[in-house]
Amino acid sequence: MTIVNFTPWTGLIGGLLIGASASLLLWLNGRIAGISGIVAGASVEPGEDKAWRWLFLAGLLGGAALAFWLVPGSRAFDTDLPWPVFPVAGLLVGFGTRLGSGCTSGHGVCGLGRLSPRSLASVVTFMAAGVLTVFVIRHGLGVV
């Protein structure tokens, strides 16, 4: 193992901001900041309460745009994957997060914060699946 491009400080600052966001949404609106749930609720799922979800997503894009503009190095995008990998990965992530009721934010940031055993099981499982997938692609098949 070699450690590469490690950026602990911007990582920690970003993490604290994400934690602050989740705290604010729960404190003010009583909502869990789970991005997969918010995206599904804003789009494919029926329901009345769509406005706050769209505004949250608009803020998500706006906040990212602001950082890309102001913070040097934040707009990095590195990949050597062929483009069809992205929609296929999106398909798995979209279906999987609905079946499993959440993703890195809902189960990770919020669920672990609530000490939910369901969320801990989910986080351990998707981390393991992610590590295994990268291992097979990078070392098992020797593609990259």
Partner: protein, 136 residues
């Protein structure tokens, strides 16, 4: 009105956090998952920082009778670990390990104006739509 402004500001903070920590760069996420190769521990600091905040703040917030701008807390009620939870996490983890995007960074990266995040989000929406079409 107030709750809409709150959602916008919460989204803004979330997007700032994801971009500052470079979780919008697929290589940083894939290198975090590549513990046998070129490991980048940054994601652990992002997740650690975020959970540190929620572990403390949620204790105080959930002691309140209700949130400030709404009548009640909207919290998940289930606590059982079932096959759907695990199967969903496996599929999600495979997709995450393929491209290096989970839903938050994928959506936030749309602000870069590149094809790859846009295609990821299209796939994400189709996957969510397909799940809804399944019989319960």
């Amino acid at each position: 009105m107030k709750k809409h402004l709150a959602a916008l500001i919460a989204g803004l903070l979330f997007g700032l956090g994801l971009a500052i920590s470079q979780m919008t760069n697929p290589a940083k996420v894939l290198n975090f998952l590549d513990i046998a190769g070129t490991w980048d521990p940054t994601l652990a600091f992002v997740m650690g920082g975020a959970v540190l905040v929620t572990l403390i703040s949620f204790r105080f917030i959930l002691k309140q009778d209700r949130p400030l701008f709404e009548g009640r807390f909207h919290l998940p009620t289930r606590s059982d670990i079932d096959a759907r939870l695990i199967a969903g996490a496996v599929l999600f983890g495979i997709g995450w390990g393929l491209a290096g995007y989970c839903p938050g960074p994928g959506v936030a990266a749309l602000a870069m104006g590149l094809w790859e995040p846009a295609l990821f989000v299209v796939g994400l929406l189709v996957g969510m739509w397909a799940f809804r079409r399944l019989p319960a």
